[in-house]
Amino acid sequence: MSLQDIALMAHLMRRAGFGATYQEIHENVSDGYDHTVDHLLDPNVSDGIQQDMLRRYHPDHSGGLGTAGMAFYWLHRMVQTQTPLREKVALFWHHVFATGYGKLAQGRVLMDQVEMFRQHGFGSLKTLLIELSRDPSMIIWLDNQDNHKGAINENYGRELLELFSMGVGNYSEDDIKACAQAFTGWTVSNAKYMKMRADNDSLWPYGRLNLHFEFDEDDHDGSEMTFLNETGVFNGEEVVDIICRQPATANFISRHMYNFFVADEPPVPQWPYREPRDPEAIQILSDAYFESGYNIAEMLRVMFKSEFFKSENVRSEKVKSPAELVAGVLRLTGESRKLTPKLQGDANLLGVMGQQLLNPPSVEGWHTGTEWLDTGNLVERINYAASKFADVNKPGIKEMIGRLAADAGGVATPETLVQDCLDQMGAISLSKTSMDALLNQASKTGKSEIGTDERETDEDILGELLRLVAATPDFQRC
């Protein structure tokens, strides 16, 4: 098992999931890289999430009064799932099709949207965009219940083209109007009451009422239109079909995928003016899009197996999103293997760090890369990871320390000690600066004898070392 294989697998598991333990990485390397990619993409693998248990213990995971219960539920899934890519892809679409709680005052309908991403997020983009257009939270979020025959509201039509499929510069204002026309009558049942409940933040009298899609044929403008140079009578489904045939769509979705899974791109509004970082990669993904009939899973498969994904140039290139950071830490510490109310604290911290799940700042979603970071939330991020890894009572940390002590077998040089810690924390690699600082620390604590002394001494030394690895700038990256 070569070090390169291990480093590559660690990279894959960070990007296609939320990181992996040392053993998971080793097991996956034994299974082979391509096999692991196929397994991550296999829709038949069970996620292992015990829904009945969650319903029993955590009523708000289904009731959805606010974002808190939903963030808890989703974080639980990110940490406990056996199909991490499914959660990662759902998170990807949540970034792209950013829909926010503030205008909906309904947690459940947003969680249903995320569930829709789990179901359709790997299939045809066409199905996904039709489901998105029928999604009741999206309808309220972008005012489509006000999009009427004879009185068009362009909001959804515009964002569908600008942010959800093609990107600015690839369509005209008339196309926007035609697109909006095609979605007239796509509304929610009891729209007036539901919108009023959302505006009033009402959970009265008996909790939130979920929203559901309704097609109001009488309110649908079925007159002939011209959309992206095609003329005819088009409903929303046909418009989505035309959108999916556009090379611009292939490019735009490919660039999103690259930005989320491979390397940070500038924020979306700058895309028309700035070339992709790796145009060849975008071309490969776009080709996969058309060859597979707009199939997302096939694009992902091509991407993860490509040289541009495996390249050393993109390793640890990204800045972890708060969700990646927190879920990644918790998968290693093992503290939430048993259901616990304490996970709510971790879920709430996502918001403190700048990523309140199900409540992105705007329809543009979160800006990624260094835009995740400012002094305030960097302190939160570092303190979070560092304090978790220093807590030697957490089951995952206990196991790590046990293995570190066993591996050291009595004597360890600072070099092997630090390297062992990095391996145990998910085979992470460090810049020279960070490595030097850690070696300095490891030699300063004086003790290089590990595993012979008393358990508490091991814990002291290793806990401090794990803390500092988690505090490195490198750990902030993905």
């Binding site: 933040d201 002094t375 302190v379 220093a390 505090a471």
Partner: protein
Amino acid sequence: MVSTKSDRKLVVIQLSGGNDYMNTIVPYTNGLYYDNRKTVNIQPTEVLDIDGEYGFRSHMEPIKDLWGQGDVAIINGIGYPTPNRSHFRSMDIWHTALPDDIGNEGWLGRAIRELDPKGENVLTGVNFGRGLPRALAVRGVPVASVGNLETYGLFSDISDDSSRDLALETFAQMYGNANGGDAVMKFLGQTGMDALKGADILSTAPAKYSSTVEYAADPLSQSMRSVAQVLFADLGTRVFYTQHGSFDTHSGESATHQQLWMDVSAAIGDFTADLKEHGREDEVAILVFTEFGRRVKDNGSGTDHGSGGAAFVIGSSVEGGMYGEYPSLKEQDQLEGDLHYNNDFRTTYATLLEQWLGLEAAPIVNGHFEQFSLFKN
């Protein structure tokens, strides 16, 4: 002592959850009030009279005292067009000063950018609480968010000082030397060192502080004590922010609302006393606001989300009095069962920005608004 604009500080207290205006500034001489508030009301005998017509609710004595000294401006009927009764959305509107669009920049973040255009002081704006309220959030404007001033900073969980120092030393090596890496590494290094610096400066504040004022134990009082500590340490902070709640009193309002206003009044009373003890009272204006008021009618146990509320501006430099109009309680004057707002919240923002902080308000609050004359000349 008359303060100059460059000395002046704004302290913002957000009442989260939607404070019940009618039970804060009580129209206790108006029969319609008791008709609508059959269960959730303040009896005339409990009201602290303001002007023979309105009164503060019970347990607001410290604020009533400040009112008596002419230091309290009550902004009546404050709100914005087309009320939204969702906490998130309404709070967003107050934070971004944009009632019709979803905005990305906080009004106070913009103010901080104007106060410190080059971002020379990472402490120009300080939030007391965890996570940055959107009011303070503007890309590239550093604002410190302090959960607990005593332990603020990196590795706050390490209780042993020497271990913490050792960890911080390693941290400084890692982040201070990160400028050799790629652009992201450089950014991380810079941000990490800024955080370290900010924490170092802030950590000096509690030690420098001494006062005879004993603040209460509730979180708001403790936050106001931290505000005083940072303010007296003269770290250049101009905007302070904190919040208290929850004012979302749908049920059992009588008990909860009383406790909340005991907390808020005591915290403000203690803070102003502390300012006076240190001779700093002329430098500070306090803005107290909430995202919305509550329904005119009670629901038998509490009150539901409404519109039209009250804000307060408090300080020795403030020209005390009633501003705006108390909205009519008559059914035909109501807006969907709520009090009808009659002055835009950006009027108050613009007044504070121009008359108190000396900034041009229009670009910050997204337009030109009339202003009150809120300050003594």
